[in-house]
Structure formats: structure tokens, C-alpha cells
Amino acid sequence: MAFLVLPLAGLLIRAPWPTLAQRLAEPQVLEALRLSLVTATVATLVCLLLGVPLAWLLARVTFPGRRLVRALITVPLVLPPVVGGVALLLVLGRRGLIGQWLEATFGISLPFTTAGVVLAEAFVAMPFLVISVEGALHATDLRLEEAAATLGASRWVIFRRVTLPLVAPGIVAGAVLCWARALGEFGATITFAGNFPGRTQTMPLAVYLALETEPEAAIVLSILLLAVSVIILASLRDRWVTSP
């Protein structure tokens, strides 16, 4: 526990408290914070949309190559985020396999956009959601779903009325992990989406650049990011996770 908390204490001790309020009021700071919260939340929604069906598929349907798919899903966890960012560029960049086609057909270019930030964050954070939802699915009692089926419920109704409520705590826990990871994402974001204030400069990027010249500003930004995420996560936990 001390191992986890002491670095935070270090931040708090070194914080320039007298000028804290003034530094926080800078428009760039709030812009970066807003962008961080918005992109992390949208990335979490994307992960929920894509990740929950994927987790269901992995937990409930036997298909050839399932173990391989399961291993592949953990790739973003193992990959250094910067490498993930380069990989995204090679696929979705202007000269990437899909990116080239996207730009030629729809005129869409993802790098250096806010959508690119969401994409990079979702890429890195998705495994957290899939793994915890899959775990929750494995832990549920299959007989409940079978009972619903014998009563004439369709597969969709079973999924919606039986399976989803059963795994809801798992989904919430996964979404929280996913959101936290997306909020702290740095490497893939700066590589794929670049760094432009108000558009792609999230808090971790702002912290990194502030560190180059003004360590004090970096500490302030770090404390703000920590405080906001701890407050949000703490309130979520009380409401959703600990009281089922």
C-alpha cells in the first residue's frame, strides 16, 4: 500500500500550493482536462459497444481459433503504447492500409484529430473491459439462461433481461478500468493523434510537455488529473460497484 501511495505523497509535498489556484485557472489547463474527460468517456462508450459483444462471443460461443482471438485481445496490454500508436498510424494513417482508402473515399483523416485520440485510447483500454466482462460471464450461472430459454424467451431477450443484469457489476468494473486507462493514456495518443492544444492535447500530454520546462506546472497538472479521477472513481464505486 505504501508502495502505491508514496509517489502520490511526493507529488503533494512538492506541489506549489501558493500558486496552485492561479495555475489551475489557466484556460489551457481546463481545455486539456475537458478534452481528457470527454475523450476518455467516449472511448469507454466505444469499448462498451464493441467489447461487450466480443466478450459474450468469447465466453459463450465455441468457435475455431477462440484461444487465439483471446490472446490477440491482450496484445494492446503487452504492446508499449508508443508501438501501438505507430501500428495505428501504419493502418489508419494517411498512407496506412485503411487510412489511405478512408481519405480517398470519404476524405476522412484520423491522425491529429480528436477522433484519433478516442481511437488511440479505445485501442489501448479495450482489453481491460473485454477481460473483466468475459470473467463475469464465466462466473454467471448458465442454468438461469437455460431456464429463461425453456420459458420461451428469445436469445436477444435472454441476453437483455437475464445475462446483462447478471454481469452488470462486471461490465461496470470493466468500464471503470477502461475509463481510467483511457484517461491516463499517453504513448499511443501522442504518436497517433499528435499534440495540439484544444484538439488532441490531453492532460497526460500537457503534463509531459510542462515537465520539459516547468516541473512545477507538471506537478499541478498531475495533481488535478489525479484528484478528478479519484473523485469520479470513488463516487462510482460507492454507487455501483460495492452495493449490488
Binding site: A2, F3, L6, P7, G10, L11, I13, R14, P80, P81, V82, V86, L89, L90, G93, R94, R95, P111, F112, G184, E185, F186, G187, I190, T191, A193, G194, N195, F196, P197, T200, Q201, M203, P204, L205, V207, Y208, L209, A210, L211, E212, T213, P215, A218, I219, S222
Partner: protein, 264 residues
């Protein structure tokens, strides 16, 4: 466990390094001070040098090792600002070579080095992908909103040089990204994600065929001086001084100018 706890507890100076660790992957270019200090035998020399010196200093390090048998030269290449922070936070470096006088000043202001010497200068160039898709020919083309430009962030030396050059030309350029260091900026050009970037001449040379460099007159207004100094707290002052002398020697200058640096 005791060792770890005591290190964290005594690690207030590390707080800054930890911030970078918390935010993700800054670690790839972080120094590992503990590792280099544990091998603090009199025969190891630790040089902190700007990222743009990676190729030339690695070569000079080999030369130095050959001339001083039993000595091993260890390098920590990163953005000069990061290195300056690490040094002022107590990282065990013997020599510091920075890409700007401002970052060296951080270290001399902390009384950790005296009398730095300018050993080379570096000029900006416009870097474009080999096929130059946006047909960039001059600095003013970068102001065209259709041209995607990457610049270094103003906090790092190549970024402040870019601002100076653009101001000298009276141009307002809105880039798509402010990259964290010169190598990252160049990578965006190599991958063809941007149409142009302002980077150092030396970086254009190391990128080889994938990138074409265009010199521009306003670059003369934004020349970067590279200062080098032996650090005052080094346990091996003689070796540190000899390394600085090698960099300043004709042999050192030869290696550096071949890589595109200019003599001061």
C-alpha cells in the same frame, strides 16, 4: 522491501521523474539513475546528451573507449530539457551536452556545471517526404492551410528555434501537431503523415532517403548553439574533462560536421 521503501521515501527528488512514469510511457527515454550509480567504478563515464547527438556521440564514445582502455562510456540521450531536469534532480551524470544554451543554463544556475563551451551549431531545415506530396518549396508554403505541418513543441529547443525562424519570416503557421521532440517530429514526416516539418539539418541527414531537406534563408536567424560541460559533482573529473576535450578536438569536430553540424 526495505530498500525500496527507503528509496521512495528519500526519493523526493524523483517526484518529477515519477510524474512522467505515472502518465504512461515517458519511461522509454528516462534515465535510470540508480542503475548507473551502482556501477560507479572510476572507469565508467556517464554522458547526458541531446537526442540530436545520438549518432555522433555514440561514435565518439567508441573512440574514447578505444583511447582509454578499461573505461566504458554510457549515454543517456533524450530531449535536453528532460536531461537538464534529471541532472538538477540529482541524476549521476559526468558530462552534459545540451541542444540549447537555455537548457544548459538550468544546470549552471543550479551550480552543477561551470563555463560550458559551445561545440557545434545546428540549423533548421524544412523536412518533406521524399515525394514531397504538397510541393513545398519555401518556408512560406508552410503557412498554406492545406499543407499539414508538424513542429516541435515550443518547450523544446527545436520548437523555440522554429518559432524564431517563422517570426523572422513574418509567417504564421498553424501546425497539426506540436511534437515532444525533434525525432518524433521527423518520424511524422518519414511516415508521410505530415507534408512538412521544421527539424535540424542533422536529423534530415540521419533519416536518409525517406526525407528530403530544404534549406531556407530565415534559418540563419534561429541557429541553435550546443553547449557542453563537465559536471562539477562528477566523481571522475579527469575523464569527464578528457571527453569534453575529445568533442572539442579536430577529430570530434570532424565527426560532428560530417553529420551536418556546423562548427561554432
Amino acid at each position: 522491501m526495505f530498500r525500496r521503501v527507503s528509496r521512495w521515501a528519500a526519493g523526493l527528488p524523483l517526484a518529477v521523474a515519477l510524474t512522467a512514469g505515472l502518465t504512461g510511457c515517458g519511461s522509454s527515454d528516462q534515465a535510470t539513475p540508480a542503475a548507473s550509480s551502482s556501477s560507479g567504478a572510476a572507469t565508467a563515464l556517464t554522458v547526458f546528451a541531446a537526442a540530436s547527438l545520438t549518432e555522433t556521440f555514440t561514435e565518439l564514445g567508441k573512440t574514447f573507449e578505444a583511447a582509454h582502455p578499461g573505461t566504458s562510456v554510457k549515454f543517456n540521450f533524450s530531449s535536453s530539457a528532460t536531461l537538464a531536469q534529471q541532472i538538477t534532480q540529482g541524476a549521476p551524470a559526468d558530462v552534459f551536452a545540451a541542444a540549447s544554451p537555455a537548457t544548459m543554463k538550468t544546470v549552471t544556475d543550479a551550480s552543477l556545471a561551470t563555463a560550458p563551451t559551445t561545440f557545434v551549431r545546428n540549423k533548421l531545415q524544412i523536412a518533406v517526404p521524399a515525394d514531397n506530396p504538397a510541393k513545398v518549396n519555401a518556408l512560406k508554403d508552410l503557412a498554406d492551410p492545406k499543407v499539414k505541418v508538424a513542429l516541435c513543441a515550443e518547450q523544446v529547443p527545436c520548437g523555440s528555434a522554429a518559432v524564431k525562424a517563422l517570426n523572422a519570416a513574418g509567417l504564421k503557421v498553424t501546425p497539426v501537431t506540436y511534437e515532444q521532440d525533434v525525432k518524433a517530429t521527423l518520424t511524422k514526416v518519414e511516415l508521410g503523415e505530415v507534408d512538412a516539418a521544421l527539424v535540424y539539418t542533422t536529423d534530415v541527414l540521419t533519416a536518409g532517403d525517406k526525407v528530403k531537406g530544404l534549406a531556407f534563408p530565415e534559418a540563419d536567424k534561429a541557429i541553435n548553439d550546443y553547449p557542453i560541460a563537465a559536471l562539477s559533482k562528477t566523481p571522475v573529473p579527469d575523464l569527464a574533462k578528457q571527453f569534453v576535450d575529445l568533442v572539442l578536438s579536430a577529430q570530434g569536430r570532424d565527426v560532428l560536421t560530417k553529420a551536418g553540424f556546423q562548427a561554432p
